[in-house]
Symmetry: C2
């Protein structure tokens, strides 16, 4: 049976709502108390499979050093065929009808670690980070608020996936707390800026993809093969200080308002695992230029939710309140289009480049992927259970994002990306 078959079962039992059934098998980097080495793991149910140990046991045809190099980059650089074959071999090893690992109790107890006992790290060494702006609803909402509601979309928006280079150094893995940033902001009643902690700290719900197969300088990626360059996807929280952003962004784009931290989920869900959830993306009018025209469905049906756990919550609950429900399939520009556009002038990519989708907003009020949109720039604060109100993020608040593809009786999920905001340092 192929690794995406809904009928596949693993000897590691998973509930229907688990994000990590045998149909998923996302890759990540973990360490454990017993072994602080950062190594490649694959999530299965509540466990992590240690690929270095599987390689040591000759169950994977790769040198185990590839899985002990600190990030996924060395493994991913081996190419598309290696990613696919490795996932197939792991799928085979984890099947309930394969006794090889299932009945080898010594290896099984060494190579299958409970997720709650491991520490997850940044999955890839991120060479470059690009952030797009590909939700029509988000761009329209922002344009309406800050520019002209009658001409909310700028003239270029419908012609190309607008994007900008972000700051790769400050991309952090889920669970990393961040301090509220300080910076320049201009109050409405003043001509001069002040230096102060951000008063309009926000999240942005995004998905990100990692480049697995690079292209050379001067050699653009054709849209027909663009997805073959993508290793897999993560969830991404593009933390944004709206007041810093509004003052600094003209004419060269966001800078300090974004560079204090960007959080990603630890498990990279492969494009192979996402394949059954491919859907058509929204119709594009006007028809884009030929280099952006797609002849396959390049959207993906990924249900997304954002929860906010306010600082006031003393219930001890680990769960916040859902404040956004949306879906990645609403994105106007696809990942293939983003990559074709990014490279069309000759820009090269590297293994480990991260590309963010831009805020994912839908067409209903609760489908907005940022507080900026959910609260109309703080003017209509959210009232949370317990009475707390939020225009923007307060110190001690925790934002969690999750996402999954719904299969027939199983989910291919991303886990979550969580981050807490600490007081200014």
């Amino acid at each position: 049976m192929p690794p995406n078959d809904p009928a596949l079962k693993s000897f590691i039992a998973t509930a229907p709502e688990s994000h990590f059934p045998i149909q998923n098998l996302p890759f990540g980097i973990f360490s454990s108390v017993e072994d602080a080495t950062l190594r490649v793991g694959v999530a299965i149910g509540d466990h992590v499979v240690d690929l270095a140990l599987l390689a040591d046991a000759d169950l994977l045809p790769l040198p185990s050093e590839v899985f002990r190099s600190g990030s996924l980059n060395q493994f991913v650089a081996l190419g598309h065929a290696t990613w696919r074959v490795t996932r197939e071999l792991i799928s085979h090893l984890l099947r309930d009808d394969n006794p090889l690992l299932r009945d080898d109790h010594t290896l099984r107890s060494a190579a299958l670690l409970p997720q709650e006992e491991v520490t997850l790290h940044l999955p890839m060494e991120i060479a470059g980070y690009t952030d797009f702006y590909s939700s029509k609803e988000h761009a329209t909402n922002v344009g309406s608020m800050f520019r002209d509601p009658e001409n909310a979309l700028l003239p270029n928006w419908l012609h190309m996936p607008i994007g900008y280079n972000g700051r790769a150094s400050s991309v952090v893995v889920s669970g990393t707390a961040l301090h509220r940033p300080k910076g320049q902001l201009k109050l409405p009643d003043s001509d001069a800026p002040i230096f102060a902690p951000s008063r309009k700290l926000d999240f942005e719900l995004e998905a990100g993809f990692f480049i697995g197969q690079p292209n050379a300088l001067g050699d653009p990626i054709n849209i027909a093969v663009a997805e073959q360059h993508i290793f897999g996807m993560v969830l991404l929280n593009d933390w944004s200080a709206r007041d810093l952003q509004q003052w600094e962004y003209v004419p060269l784009g966001p800078f300090n308002s974004k560079s204090f931290g960007t959080s990603i989920s630890p498990w990279v869900v492969t494009m192979e695992a996402l394949e059954p959830f491919r859907v058509a993306s929204p119709a594009q009018v006007p028809v884009p230029l030929p280099y952006l025209q797609e002849h396959t469905d390049n959207g993906f049906d990924i249900t997304l939710e954002v929860t906010l756990k306010p600082a006031e919550d003393s219930s001890g609950s680990s769960v916040g309140q859902v404040i956004c429900k949306t879906n990645f399939k609403a994105m106007y520009w696809t990942m293939a289009q983003q990559l074709a556009h990014h490279t069309v002038s000759g820009c090269n990519t590297k293994v480990g480049d991260l590309m963010g989708s831009g805020t994912i907003s839908g067409n209903t009020p609760d489908a907005c992927g940022s507080l900026l949109e959910l609260t109309r720039n703080g003017q209509n604060p959210l009232t949370l259970t317990g009475g707390a109100q939020r225009g923007f993020i307060q110190d001690g608040d925790e934002i969690s994002m999750t996402g999954w593809c719904q299969g027939d009786g199983y989910r291919v999920g991303f886990g979550n990306v969580v981050g807490k905001i600490l007081p200014v340092q």
Copy 2:
């Protein structure tokens, strides 16, 4: 004598106009026909000193692998004291009154290679690339042309060193030819963009600096110590496709118009070597916020020239025509201010981060650091010797930038950064 003493002489003779006398000693990466290993070298006159061989001979107290790791990063990561001591030791070894290397003919012929016989490579593995916009004259010129001549500077410009994240992957070393980029551009008589080769290809004369001492996420760099984080400087050509840029840059900044290639000079001139050429930078009105206030002179007196060698030039001359003469000391925002601002919201830096100054323009017509300004967006083409006219760069044109600090009878120079534009691919 300290390594900056104007009276110092090396047994490698250098003319007064040489960029690489013993007072400079810039670091770079080279390989040779005999040994393709990328290794660290220091320029002295027309020669390169192979630091790996000096370390093998126990003349430098560092393991020679540090100098054979492919870039300067490992060496630079050893810290400020190591850079300074290494430069002092090399200065001592190269002095005309020190027989140690001078009279060891075997070592000398192995470790001192003619520059014309080596290949120079990208000096550092560039983690992140940030480009600022710190010349008041340049920002004023651009604002006058594309926005409002009466309000050429945007409201934020006098309050912070505006910058944006550039694309690190496409930074190339001097000598790398680049193809004319293709992309979306909108002609004045049309509402819709076309896809075409750029018709307004330009250079931007900039200086760049490399981060040598990183800061951690959430831990801003104080302006008083900012320069200690800088390893050294290079010249930088921020190639720009003006027509792509004008169509794409709103609201998130330049993207494809810049990411097809950025050229840098191969020799990193250390901040120690530049120390004698420190000058006051222009007075800042209004006084910036405290985190940007300087109490030392943080400008540098660096004479700069750009030459254009047109495709039509069949003279065989290797020299182009000077089309810009300016000086780095005119920059409004200093490197220390750029770095303090970059990190003030908590952004971390890494060893090997490259930061560009932005186009360096002075206050006379021939002191403009781009064709956009020199030709008023192509409206007033330059007429070159031989009659060729240039509004923007044509296929086959070569742009060369050079720069030096003038000492008393010697120069501390940058060499040059050269690049030729090839036809669209």
